[in-house]
């Protein structure tokens, strides 16, 4: 039997095993949240709260504003879980999108705070090593992909996503026509998507198997 490590931390595993939530997919947890199951919300928070808070902090640069963004994001999850459509999006995408929007709205309201987006700095966090290993892999993957983007595309995406700048603010800031910024953002995000999803399958090993056996 293969060793299966369903990667929940030890402490977290305990907590959620009370009702056996640890084995549920993120989407199944959202379905429970839609039925007002607060423990399912807690489990989602345990899975994504750290990443969400790290993101919010990078955008708003203020711990208490970052908390607000995370809290409002998760409460939106609570209130609108019944509208989430699992076929259309991953739950993690939905949650991180909600928190991102809240954080950007907050930073726009606090206009004077905004300057250069904070560079990503490693944050000592989660005591749980499995979680760290996973996040480390995710981070490497995203950083590699971002590094492979043309500089101008990367700049536009980073200023928008981490800096909270709108397209027209970016056009002003970079001294370029709005149309240029729009296409750059589109092609940059499309390219990033390719880089993150490309399977690198030059030759399909599965069909190679079938044709020879």
């Amino acid at each position: 039997m293969t060793a299966v490590l369903a990667f929940r931390g030890r402490r977290k595993a305990r907590r959620s095993m009370v009702r056996g939530l640890a084995h549920l997919s993120d989407e199944a947890l959202v379905a429970l949240v839609a039925r007002a199951d607060a423990e399912a919300l807690a489990e989602l928070y345990d899975r994504f709260g750290g990443v969400a808070y790290g993101l919010a902090l990078r955008i708003v640069r203020d711990p208490s504003l970052a908390e607000d963004a995370v809290q409002e994001g998760f409460l939106t999850v609570w209130r609108s879980a019944s509208r989430f459509v699992a076929e259309r999006a991953k739950a993690s995408t939905w949650i991180l999108t909600l928190v991102h929007r809240r954080a950007v709205d907050l930073v726009r309201r606090e206009q004077p705070r905004r300057a250069e987006p904070l560079a990503a700095t490693p944050q000592p966090t989660v005591e749980d090593t499995e979680e760290q290993a996973w996040l480390h892999l995710q981070r490497d993957r995203v950083q590699e992909a971002l590094q492979r983007l043309p500089d101008k595309q990367r700049e536009a995406l980073e200023l928008a996503y981490y800096g909270g700048f709108t397209q027209s603010e970016l056009a002003d800031r970079l001294g370029e026509p709005l149309g240029t910024i729009k296409s750059r953002m589109f092609s940059g995000l499309a390219r990033l998507r390719e880089l993150l999803t490309e399977g690198g399958l030059e030759r399909d090993p599965w069909n190679a198997r079938e044709s020879t056996s």
Partner: protein, 237 residues
């Protein structure tokens, strides 16, 4: 031209980078444009991946309790039965499913069910080993096609599948990993999926020039794959 213009906005919308009047207009457009909705969904997934770039930060411990207290204090939104979504996957909940998983897995969370301390310690040792391998800079990370995640192979050929969001296998079925090489498929272990992510150590080493595929098979596994793969890896170098 206008149409192209609107499509382009899907990226900025996903990044929350439209000006507010533009955003409102685009949302109206979204309501009746399937194509743009698909673009937005794909772009939001990509944008959300950027959230992992900075790494997590530990939120203040009180935040969790505050969110839960606030959630509980709000009147639960009553969902009418007719509106309840049908989920594409089976076994989303239930004690039976949890028990089946626990029996199958030597996993971290299954050990919470077992009362044996030595089992627990052994599983934790295994987890730590896995983690140290995954963090090794010289481990090769090979992309997957059909699932989000990667195959991690260390220098000696030991391999781990790291998959995000893999639905739990139905209770009468199991995921089975295969090592594909020279036209053969060799079984490399069973696992059950579920949870936020699955990390599975393969029961066999992955040699150079091989790939790994995963199929959904009947419980207990089979000697040769009977199904199309759920996902495959690229070939190892």
């Amino acid at each position: 031209m206008e149409r192209q213009g609107i499509h382009e906005l899907s990226a900025a919308y996903a990044l929350h980078a439209l000006d507010s009047d533009e955003e409102r207009a685009f949302e109206e457009h979204l309501a009746h444009c399937d194509e743009c909705r698909e673009h937005v969904a794909a772009f939001q997934e990509t944008a959300a991946a950027m959230a992992y770039d900075g790494g997590p930060a530990a939120p203040p411990a009180a935040l969790r309790g505050r969110i839960l207290a606030e959630a509980r204090s709000e009147r639960p939104k009553v969902v009418q039965l007719g509106e309840r979504r049908r989920w594409a996957f089976p076994a989303t909940a239930g004690v039976a499913a949890a028990a089946a998983c626990a029996a199958l897995a030597l996993g971290i969370w299954s050990l919470s069910l077992s009362s044996s301390l030595s089992d627990e310690r052994a599983a934790l040792d295994r987890a730590e080993q896995t983690v140290s391998v995954l963090a090794q800079a010289d481990a090769t990370r090979i992309p997957l096609s059909g699932a989000e995640g990667m195959l991690v192979v260390n220098r000696s050929g030991e391999a781990w599948l790291v998959v995000s969001g893999l639905e739990e296998a139905p209770s009468d079925q199991t995921y089975e990993a295969w090592i594909l090489r020279d036209g053969d498929a060799v079984p490399a272990g069973l696992f059950h999926g579920g949870g936020s992510r699955t990390i599975v150590k393969l029961s066999r080493e992955v040699p150079e020039g091989a790939a790994v595929a995963v199929t959904l098979e009947r419980a207990g596994g089979v000697d040769q794959p009977t199904q199309e793969p759920v996902f495959t890896s690229a070939q190892t170098a």
